[in-house]
């Protein structure tokens, strides 16, 4: 019983980290129909900025986090204007993949040149060190913090997309860009804002997830399969779906590793196949924005 509880707690903690690093991709892929393979690269850039802010400039963790998000969003906005704008729309899938994977290689090489190939870390503040007890099981405070941030992100995004003017206009622009434009919605601005939201979430995930996915220049390529898996299972653009998918995959993976470690990643991918077989468009399809 205690073991079961332990698996669930560890699984939820892992799942929430998966969610927080993939939700940004879900936003760009689902709401803007852009296969942004550079998602991991953006997350990595934010991680490096936070690491530099903390270790090079001695700024506190929270300031580093905010600085990393702002820097990443501001640095990627020109990319949106110059590059991404040309490849919006589902007719350009090949161009999207080629452009964003190329961009990833450029960023990987740039980071490697600037920071070197060794691992970098973002030192945690004292408040996030140590462990917190949940019943008979104790988990690191940092993971509890990530779980809370993940929950806040789910609620925040749900409110933004379902309950605000911005969300209504965005969903209209996604469903029928021409009609939305004819109604006077400035779709270009809307897309820019959504792109910024996507990269901001990538940045948040990169910084918060750095304890689990350590920063090194190949981060951008190494973990992209993980991000895509969560988005595929959750249904692109579906926030609640992404959260459910991340939690399901996290718990299945944790249980598999605990019970039969020699099976390796088997359970993760088996779950992926079964879920996609049953729900080819991800959990809660049809409700996707």
């Amino acid at each position: 019983m205690e073991t079961l509880f332990g698996i669930v707690v560890d699984g939820v903690a892992y799942g929430m980290i998966l969610f927080i690093i993939s939700v940004g991709l879900s936003v760009t892929l689902g709401l803007m129909r852009v296969v942004n393979l550079a998602h991991g690269a953006f997350a990595m850039v934010a991680g490096y900025v936070a690491s530099y802010a903390a270790q090079g400039l001695g700024l506190p963790y929270a300031v580093g986090l905010v600085a990393a998000i702002l820097f990443t969003v501001l640095a990627t906005l020109p990319l949106e204007k110059l590059l991404y704008r040309r490849i919006y729309g589902s007719a350009n899938e090949l161009a999207q993949v080629l452009l964003t994977i190329g961009l990833t290689f450029v960023i990987v090489a740039g980071i490697n040149y600037l920071f070197g190939p060794t691992l970098k870390r973002i030192p945690l503040p004292d408040a996030l060190l140590g462990t917190v007890a949940i019943g008979p099981k104790s988990i690191p405070v940092h993971r509890a913090f990530v779980i809370a941030m993940g929950a806040a992100t789910v609620l925040g995004l749900w409110w933004l997309l379902e309950r605000t003017d911005f969300g209504i206009k965005l969903r209209a622009a996604v469903d029928d860009p021409n009609m939305a434009a004819a109604l006077g919605i400035r779709t270009e601005r809307l897309y820019t804002a959504t792109f910024a939201l996507g990269t901001g979430l990538a940045a948040l995930g990169g910084v918060l997830g750095a304890e689990l996915l350590p920063l090194e220049p190949y981060y951008a390529i190494r973990y992209i399969v993980l991000f895509l898996a969560v988005v595929a299972v959750g249904g692109a653009g579906n926030i609640l779906g992404s959260a459910a998918a991340a939690l399901a995959l996290g718990i299945v993976d944790t249980a598999g590793k605990y019970l039969i470690p020699s099976f390796g990643e088997f359970f993760f991918y088996a779950a992926l196949i079964l879920i996609l077989f049953r729900w080819p468009h991800g959990f809660f399809q049809g409700r996707a924005a």
Binding site: Y14, P214, K257
Partner: protein, 398 residues
């Protein structure tokens, strides 16, 4: 204006042509080339960097000529384990560059892939790292100056048993060296009266180690033996070990020294403190030779922070190659060169070493180290030494 520019361009092109020609021409002169295959880009670029720096340090200390022959190192980049590419690069080095020696090799498969080639071309191959025991059995022209997992693990398992620890869980990455480590530990430890209560093989790509930690906790082990390849996975494992409270619960952490290699220590931070490892080299090794070795790194490259086991592997490898060149008088004869270094003994920055005539692997002192903070910097402090350790895995029979 443009005329001058054109002249300058032509001049440069001409000079380049001369330089290239000169380079090719010198192959028949008294220049002996050594082809080094190692990762110089990609995730393992630091390894290639340490190889290259150590070789340059060796040449700065001992000169570039041996018995009238100039020794020149040619570097080829192989960014990840890729046997086919390794063989292609070796072939290029032998046929086009006319190298008389092959060296380097970080990954086992890359080293294994050149066995038929070195036999056919009769050139020696000095391995600076690749640590699976079986390699030197595959060709009589392999000589290795690094270590093997067996070599590091056997004295460690005996040490753990002597501490009165009876129950140990092993946790290794699920690949060749990891399984070598697990087998070596289990055999030695159970022979010494201990018991391995759980053997966990973790997928190489693991990112979340919490489930393994829970398993270790449930197994009731007093200590763990862990091996993972240096890099992000080690960091995740060591952090999970302290984050999930296993460290606080008094469970001891043992492993081969790769997991606390010097370039990773600043990132591991306090999670590394107290990890006990056995290894052939620590940057903190107390000897004049090691101090000179580090000082030369600092002088040439501005820092000696990344000097680690791969550095001494390459440094001693260069020493072996120099001896081979000396013995063969600059002629390319692999069999004779290897024969000349069998039984060769010398003092290395890591301590006294010797090439075992049978296994052609380096017999050396294995040190017991504890990772601790000294003057604000983490280091692997050597607390004991086990002299004359051979490769226990040579012909161990799988």
């Amino acid at each position: 204006m443009s005329g001058t520019f054109r002249k300058a361009l032509l001049g440069t092109a001409f000079l380049c042509a001369l330089a290239v020609d000169g380079g090719a021409g010198s192959a028949w002169a008294d220049t002996i080339k050594v082809g080094v295959i190692a990762p110089f880009s990609g995730p393992f670029a630091t390894v290639g960097q340490t190889f290259k720096q150590a070789i340059e340090v060796y040449q700065a200390q001992h000169g570039k000529t041996v018995a009238g022959n100039t020794v020149e190192f040619v570097y080829k980049d192989l960014d990840q384990a890729n046997p086919a590419q390794s063989k292609a690069l070796a072939q290029e080095l032998v046929v086009k560059e006319k190298v008389g020696y092959l060296a380097g090799f970080f990954f086992t498969p890359d080293a294994l892939a050149v066995a038929p080639l070195i036999d056919e071309a009769n050139i020696p191959c000095v391995i600076f790292n690749a640590a699976t025991s079986a390699i030197t059995e595959k060709s009589p022209r392999y000589v290795r100056t690094s270590f093997t997992l067996w070599q590091n693990t056997v004295p460690l398992a005996e040490h753990v048993a002597k501490q009165g620890i009876r129950k140990v869980a092993t946790a290794v990455s699920d690949y060749g060296p990891g399984i070598d480590g697990e087998t070596a530990f289990k055999q030695t430890f159970e022979k010494s009266g201990g018991k391995v209560v759980d053997s966990i093989r973790m997928p190489l790509k693991s990112t979340d180690f919490a489930p393994f930690m829970q398993r270790i906790k449930d197994s009731g082990a007093e200590a763990i033996y862990a091996f993972l390849p240096a890099g992000p996975t080690t960091l995740g494992f060591a952090r999970a070990f302290s984050d999930t409270g296993l460290k606080a619960a008094g469970i001891k952490f043992f492993g081969p020294g790769d997991i606390t290699q010097e370039p990773d220590l600043p990132v591991l931070g306090d999670a590394a403190v107290g990890i006990t490892t056995t290894f052939n080299y620590s940057q903190a090794h107390e000897s004049d030779l090691n101090r000179q070795f580090l000082a030369k790194h600092k002088e040439l490259f501005g820092s000696s922070d990344i000097v680690t086991f791969t550095s001494v592997g390459a440094y001693d490898g260069a020493h072996v190659i120099y001896r081979m060149v000396e013995a063969t008088g600059g002629k390319s004869d692999g069999a004779k060169a290897v024969e000349a270094v069998k039984g060769m003994a010398w003092e290395s920055p890591r301590g006294p070493v010797r090439i075992d005539p049978e296994s052609r692997h380096v017999t050396q002192t294995i040190y017991l180290r504890v990772t601790e903070r000294k003057d604000g910097k983490l280091q692997n402090t050597e607390v004991a030494g086990f002299p004359d350790q051979p490769d226990y895995g040579f012909k161990a029979g799988k």
